[in-house]
Symmetry: C2
Subunit: 203 residues, 2 copies
């Protein structure tokens, strides 16, 4: 006998409850997703199962920078055409992808694995800070760019890292604040407007 809450086969219920844990999907959209997947078994469901299994098996965090790749050191650390003198520090792997998509940076990355957070109990030892200090002490490194979010936790982390990096002979810099490209002035918050005015440039 199935309990009343179970309305489909256990295999489908198991799939729905796992899909519901995927960020971006909730219980309702997980059900809809499961149905569509079952409708498109060969085009979508089986390939997705295989892609998940392959990625789960092969993808590892790079032991140098912390980014995700199937090789260690990762493609970005192994690339010979990138500047060893620059280390761009980010909170998460997704930030590396965003910067790479922008194509604005040709140095090396360092992924902290999060930001310091009193609320969530994230302490310096929980982040890849020791490895950053080790890398930043290398003879080739000229500058460490703290590319952290303009949130309280992000800026707390940037401040902490700047202090830890200070004894080393590297320049420490941060991303500039200002009006997002394409952003409309009257929709911006006061903090951003203030920052954009403060760091105004001659046009």
């Amino acid at each position: 006998m199935r309990s009343k809450a179970i309305t489909a086969a256990p295999e489908i219920e198991a799939l729905i409850s796992l899909l519901a844990k995927v960020p971006g999907l909730g219980p309702r959209s997980a059900r809809r997703a499961a149905l569509q997947l079952l409708k498109r078994k060969d085009q979508l469901m089986a390939p997705l199962a295989a892609a998940l299994a392959v990625a789960a098996e092969k993808v590892r965090a790079c032991s140098n920078c912390g980014a995700l790749d199937t090789q260690d050191p990762c493609m970005l650390c192994a690339a010979i055409d990138r500047d060893d003198g620059l280390i761009c520090v980010v909170a998460e792997v997704g930030d590396v992808w965003a910067l790479e998509r922008a194509g604005a940076f040709k140095g090396r990355y360092h992924v902290l694995g999060g930001t310091l957070s009193a609320l969530d109990g994230v302490r310096p030892d929980d982040l890849r800070i020791a490895k950053l200090l080790e890398r930043a002490s290398g003879p080739d490194v000229r500058e460490v760019i703290l590319a952290l979010s303009a949130t309280v936790d992000g800026q707390t982390t940037a401040h902490y890292l700047a202090e830890r990096l200070q004894p080393l002979s590297v320049t420490v810099s941060r991303l500039s604040h200002g009006v997002p490209v394409g952003g409309e002035l009257d929709l911006l918050d006061d903090g951003t407007l203030f920052a954009a005015l403060q760091s105004r440039r001659p046009s």
Copy 2:
């Protein structure tokens, strides 16, 4: 060499592009989902891969009612404690699940696999209508309930089915329209209010 658009390992890119096709996820949320999955490999990613593979292999459409299950005939068609005299016609498998969750119906189901749609080119032959007529001709069947959406396509389909079922010796009924339970009057559209007034009951 990787092209500029590729910012992560091909295995990760493949996963992201498949996740982006899952209903409810888009390109951006697929990236976020992939990252979270890679972070929670053992708790979420590997089990999800396995659940997808199992469901893709085992789940089939019931040859009688069209619902999805790992057995054929499905659990609902095979259940001995349901009323064979009632057939509830729905458009999609998700509708069966919704009605089962509500626990309001103890008869049999029939899944059409969609609704008639001039716009999307869905014709009667594309739906499981022949099988419905066959089932509705059975000696035990007293009533066919058309539980289709109150949309143009849903009501067109209901109208078409009512005509096709008319020669048979079964009662054909539809779901009532009215105020959704918990719905606020001033947020309802005119059509619903009109229908709720038309089919008012003595209190």
